[in-house]
């Protein structure tokens, strides 16, 4: 097992339950990414009641609250102790390659051989920064969410936040509130309210079974796996943070960053359509939720159905910004993350450097598994509570594989 985050530990739990000898190798400490690569104010997007791992549920007194990063680390750390995971921490894997009877895992603390390996290394190892970043004038500072901790880190002045996922809108809001006027470049995005008809949106997605939808039931898997994270924030007030909320606070919404030429950022004229698409999609989702509520006879106990205001888009949002004028001091690239497979010496990547796998079973690499990617096996795969079902399924597959002919140890 490579990685001691929540997914790796969930698999470890099932392996232990089935008496499969294993080791969990971790480059840092348990829950390393949550400890070291997140900004200060971040809280989970999922409410506490949803923070559960195989055999362990949230038992605190704030089920509707959202965990801070130290709380998440505490939760996962506690889980590692409860399941007594066979940890090998502070050990960095530098190479994995196939051998005749399995895999050789080279680390800075020695070499392991194993008939099966599970990659639980997270989906967010490296920031995805578009190539146009090379054309940004030297006078403008650039930062990714992996290095970003708090607004005070940034110079004074305007900030261009590129990307309107959960990451982009959360950082945009706190940076704007710090007195650094934010321009938010908005491409395709997913709009969700925090609360609908008195219930957290995660309650709806959970209860209706949407989060349990399997990868082989989804219309367009490639598209679904690559969707940006929904515009949500976890706060004690359980408030909705969408583009309207940002615009009301004075942040400026502009089109997707399409290019940079001659020191000018070129912005797409597609902002209205992108917002319209997200509004329509939200409307369809709420229709589905309302139908479900009526079917289940819940209309009496829930608040009345309602719809959210369409996203307000300026008549003529600017199509370019002069990055040499001093108006923008910093660009924050909230343009997504990708896994790091540079240490993987096996022919398992596609032409875009992504792992070829069928719901976590790596193709052309018997005994190699992956867990912890967006919609790996289910819509909930990327959430903490989504680890359980995926880990159980992959453990079943792994045990069947080890059982048929592969050498045991």
């Amino acid at each position: 097992m490579i990685g001691a985050g929540h997914t790796g530990l969930a698999v470890s739990h099932f392996l232990t339950e089935r008496s499969i000898d294993h080791v969990v190798i971790e480059r840092g400490e348990v829950a390393n990414t949550w400890r070291t690569e997140r900004w200060d104010s971040l809280r989970l997007l999922t409410p506490n009641w949803q923070s559960r791992l195989p055999g362990v549920a949230y038992d605190g007194d704030d089920p509707d609250g959202f965990m801070t990063m130290p709380e998440v680390v505490g939760f996962i750390d506690g889980y590692a102790r409860i399941i007594d995971a066979p940890l090998q921490t502070n050990t960095t894997v530098t190479s994995l390659r196939p051998t005749e009877d399995g895999y050789e895992v080279v680390t800075d603390e020695g070499i392991w051989s194993a008939p099966t390996v599970v990659l639980a290394t997270g989906g967010f190892n490296l920031p995805k920064v578009p190539a146009v970043a090379d054309a940004v004038p030297g006078s403008v500072e650039m930062i990714t969410p992996m290095e970003y901790r708090r607004p005070e880190q940034l110079p004074q002045g305007g900030v261009l936040v590129v990307g309107a996922s959960a990451t982009g809108i959360q950082i945009a809001e706190e940076v704007h509130r710090s007195g650094r006027p934010v321009t938010l470049a908005v491409g395709e995005h997913v709009r969700l309210p925090r609360i609908y008809r008195g219930k957290d949106i995660m309650w709806w997605l959970d209860q209706t079974g949407i989060l349990d939808e399997r990868y082989d039931e989804v219309d367009d898997l490639v598209r679904a796996r690559n969707l940006p994270s929904p515009q949500l924030v976890g706060t004690p007030e359980r408030r909705t943070l969408d583009l309207n909320a940002l615009a009301d606070q004075g942040a400026r919404l502009v089109g997707r960053l399409a290019g940079i030429a001659g020191g000018r950022a070129q912005l797409s004229g597609s902002l209205r359509n992108k917002c319209n698409l997200a509004d329509l999609k939200l409307g369809r989702l709420l229709d589905t939720l309302d139908e479900w509520a009526t079917e289940k006879g819940l209309d009496v106990e829930l608040d009345s159905p309602h719809r959210f205001d369409p996203t307000k888009v300026d008549e003529s949002p600017p199509l370019n910004i002069d990055l040499t004028s001093g108006e923008i001091s910093t660009i924050i690239w909230a343009t997504g993350f990708r896994p790091d497979y540079s240490w993987l010496h096996a022919r398992v990547l596609d032409r875009k450097g992504q792992l070829r796998h069928d719901a976590g079973v790596v193709r052309d690499a018997p005994g190699l598994y992956r867990i912890g990617l967006n919609l790996l096996r289910r819509r909930k795969s990327s959430f903490i509570h989504g680890a359980e079902d995926d880990a159980r399924d992959l453990t079943d597959h792994l045990i069947a594989h080890v059982g048929v002919g592969a050498p045991t140890h």
Binding site: A258, S268, S270, N273, N276, L277
Partner: protein, 186 residues
């Protein structure tokens, strides 16, 4: 969704498009297309353009016949008006592309279209092209497209089809996003 029992037919072979998508993901080199046109000056502001050959699916392809287009400027520009203005052709390109997309998306969503009509307008301050005001751009200040669609669907479904067609439109992308243009002279 359609309420009739007859199969939806907007005349778009969506299955062929979906099959092509699957095939091209496995053979991405086949997805590299080059579109071409040739334009010859006739006289004054009048030009005559033809399109026929293009490259795609790994080889040279051709239209069933050569299509030709005349472009000119109207008499208020002291021209002879032998054809649409180039900017009008651009509007035609956008509206045609979006309308093709409407049909394809509707077919894929099994929605029967009865009629689709687009009207398109592009506002322009011609002080730009006349070189009379350096702060005015040559191109459109904005483009507005209006659709009248009769289909066996709810207003929300129709709106979603139109939104999706913009999302998948080559011309919408070409107009809303910058493109490097290289012009050479022999």
């Amino acid at each position: 969704m359609t309420t009739t029992g007859t199969p939806v037919n907007n005349g778009v072979n969506v299955q062929a498009l979906l099959d092509a998508r699957t095939a091209l993901v496995d053979a991405p080199e086949g997805a590299q297309f080059t579109w071409r046109a040739s334009t010859e000056w006739v006289g004054g502001t009048h030009s005559h353009s033809e399109v026929n050959g293009f490259f795609g699916l790994g080889g040279e392809q051709a239209h069933r016949s050569t299509f030709s287009f005349d472009a000119d400027h109207p008499e208020v520009f002291a021209s002879e008006d032998n054809g649409a203005t180039p900017v009008e052709l651009l509007l035609v390109g956008l509206a045609s592309c979006l309308t093709a997309g409407v049909a394809a998306v509707a077919q894929n969503r099994e929605i029967q279209l009865n009629s689709v009509k687009a009207t398109i307008e592009g506002d322009m301050d011609i002080l730009g092209i006349l070189g009379a005001d350096p702060e005015v751009r040559n191109g459109f200040n904005g483009i507005k497209v209006h659709y009248d669609i009769d289909a066996d669907a709810t207003p929300e479904e129709i709106e979603a089809i139109v939104a999706q067609s913009q999302k998948r439109s080559a011309v919408f992308d070409a107009i809303t996003n910058p493109t490097n243009v290289t012009v050479e002279v022999n």
